[in-house]
């Protein structure tokens, strides 16, 4: 392989880009090991002068972090289940049946996702308050689920379209109802899409801040993003070390989930259906 100027320049550019991307992550991580005073140093230190592990433990006790964790898990799971439950049949109908105004319906569903949350959060607050559903992870999960249905519809529909309708038809001709065809043929074949969209919705719900901060008031309902924000301001100032440690605890499950499902995202299953 010839070594020439262009190749060297490209490699250097990529190295720089990688450093640029990783530095903030590294810096955040290392901040969690810094002492109370060191986090206020300017210029900031890349390697802590004093290395401390204490904040990684303290955050579990000085605040109801465990409760926040629990609420986040509940809300995200409910959100994912609801979004999937409603978007699967919707996506299927919009993919398979050619009804009037179908494209208008799809467009409208898409626009719902782009509703500025700030515009609707107050009416939702009032609405939930009247139902006495404020400050529970379940109601939060329901709201998240509703918000994420459009994503589910759009992603799943694009996967379903790739499956030749003849497969479902053939199954129905074999002697099954359309519902069975959907369950036994369509769903297994769009598994990568289901996995992908579930994780996307889970991650979005996990990290959501605006609705959580308005619709929850106590550790009974607050989620991790809200909880972490409590380390900012207040009588202790901005406790960056605690914020960073808590943040890392918060994102670990999502990262693990992404890594774990990597192989299920393989699209190989649908190749070669049509000769």
């Amino acid at each position: 392989m010839k070594i020439n100027g262009w190749k060297i320049a490209t490699v250097i550019a990529f190295i720089l880009l990688t450093i640029w991307t990783l530095i903030p992550i590294y810096y955040s991580f290392i901040t969690a090991f810094k002492s109370r005073i060191e986090i206020t140093y300017w210029p900031p230190t890349l390697i802590p002068k004093e290395f401390t592990m204490q904040y990684w433990f303290i955050i579990w006790f000085d605040r109801p972090t465990i409760a926040y964790y629990r609420n986040t898990v509940i809300a995200s799971l409910i959100s994912t289940l609801i979004a999937l439950a409603f978007s699967m049949p919707t996506a299927y109908t919009c993919a398979r049946f050619n009804f009037k105004n179908r494209s208008d319906v799809l467009f409208t569903i898409l626009t719902f996702r782009f509703l500025p949350p700030a515009a609707v959060v107050l009416p939702i607050y009032v609405f939930l308050r009247q139902l006495a559903l404020i400050d529970t992870p379940i109601s939060l999960g329901l709201i998240y689920g509703a918000i994420n249905i459009p994503i589910g519809v759009w992603v799943l529909r694009s996967y379903i379209i790739e499956i030749p309708p003849e497969l479902e038809e053939s199954y129905m001709i074999d002697g099954y109802s359309r519902l069975r065809a959907f369950l036994n043929i369509t769903l297994p074949l769009i598994r990568p899409g289901l996995v992908a969209v579930s994780l996307i919705i889970l991650a979005l719900s996990w990290g959501e801040f605006l609705f959580a901060s308005i619709l929850t008031t106590s550790p009974a309902g607050k989620t991790l993003p809200v909880g972490i924000s409590e380390y900012m301001g207040g009588e202790w100032g901005y406790e960056w070390n605690k914020i960073m440690a808590a943040t890392f605890y918060a994102i670990i499950p999502i990262i693990i989930a992404f890594i774990a499902i990597r192989k299920h995202l393989a699209r190989g299953l649908t190749f070669g259906i049509v000769r």
Partner: protein
């Protein structure tokens, strides 16, 4: 096996009339072909009979039972798709077992039936594989196995040979014929290939642009097409069409074309008028004349442009006075360059169509 009756079926997709007032019957145990060019409506018609598509108008009857509103699972029909439609996430065994499981048959009965059919179709060694591991011919046989194992009232085939290599197609056609005789089933077979219709079926229905143009025994419809579109659809290679003027003089009836004059029998004076007609002659009714034979009439000079050799036959393209003609010769005829030849047109095999209505007027 059941008999099928299609009554006045019509279907539109948006503004497009895909099927118009289609009515026909398929007798019990017969092998019937729906012959027509691509997008003639064949696939739509098969889908309506299978129940995955609903007609706008008309009814479908199986053994006099109106099945038009029944969902596919209650009709007991089988459809073999052009693309085979094998379930990619199931093994071959489970693909074939699918209709039997739907009927909730006990597992050992299912196994027995699958053993039988897979032996018959020579796919027994493939039962444990997945569809993506199979070749085209193997996939087709699995698709047929899945259809046959359910002992349906009628089997619908949608262009099953189109997606196969030509060499595979040859063998598959013979196998299909052999199978259909062994099976005693009612078969409705859709294809754009006239040779499928001639080789395989007892009866053919010509479908063109959503309309049923002609029905009958394949050889009869092939030899006596009622109208120009039928003649065009039902010929391979494409039928030759020539403008011809009919003249009557001194009791003789003559057809004048740009390159040859043909005498017709005198009784034609009562049925035909003078004027412009479209003369149709099949490629295999034109012959190259090698020896001088003064007694042979209806011979004309032409320029041989190119030959196409298919195995032991040749398709020759010639030009006579500006008119391009195709010949189908039952032997190998290899030529190096363009040359002149003498061509004989078999006047007994001529078809005349009215230039306006496109209906056959002679014979």
């Amino acid at each position: 096996m059941a008999k099928l009756r299609v009554e006045k079926v019509s279907k539109k997709f948006g503004p497009k009339k895909v099927l118009e007032d289609i009515s026909f019957e398929v007798e019990e145990g017969s092998f019937t072909t729906l012959l027509g060019p691509p997008s003639a409506g064949k696939t739509t018609l098969l889908r309506i009979i299978a129940g995955v598509e609903h007609p706008d108008k008309g009814r479908i009857f199986l053994d006099d039972e109106d099945i038009t509103d029944l969902p596919p699972k209650d009709r007991n029909v089988a459809l073999v798709y052009q693309t085979f439609a094998l379930y990619p996430h199931m093994k071959v065994y489970d693909n074939i077992a699918s209709p039997l499981k739907a009927r909730k048959l006990p597992p050992d009965e299912i196994r027995k039936k699958i053993e039988e059919i897979s032996e018959f179709l020579n796919i027994h060694h493939l039962l444990d594989r997945y569809p993506r591991e199979l070749s085209g011919g193997e996939k087709q046989r699995v698709a047929i196995a899945r259809a046959m194992v359910k002992e349906a009232r009628i089997y619908l085939f949608d262009e099953p040979l189109t997606n196969l290599d030509y060499k595979l197609r040859e063998a598959a056609r013979t196998e299909l014929k052999r199978m259909s005789k062994a099976l005693k089933a009612t078969i409705l077979y859709a294809t754009p290939d006239p040779i499928d219709a001639l080789a395989l079926s007892d009866k053919v229905h010509i479908l063109f642009e959503g309309k049923l143009l002609q029905s009958g025994a394949p050889r009869e419809v092939h030899d006596l097409p009622n109208n120009l579109n039928v003649a065009r659809v039902f010929s391979y290679p494409t039928i030759n069409l020539i403008d011809a003027d009919l003249e009557m003089k001194n009791g003789k009836v003559t057809l004048k074309t740009p390159f040859v004059s043909i005498d017709l029998p005198t009784y034609c004076t009562s049925t035909l008028a003078e004027g412009r007609y479209l003369l149709a002659i099949r490629p295999h009714d034109l012959h190259i004349v090698f020896e001088e034979d003064r007694s042979l009439t209806n011979v004309f000079k032409a320029r041989l442009l190119l030959t196409y050799i298919i195995g032991s036959e040749t398709i020759a393209h010639v030009e006579a006075n500006g008119v391009r003609l195709t010949l189908h010769l039952p032997y190998i005829y290899r030529v190096g360059e363009v040359r002149d030849v003498k061509v004989f047109i078999d006047a007994n095999r001529i078809l005349l169509f009215d230039a306006n209505t496109m209906e056959r007027v002679y014979p």
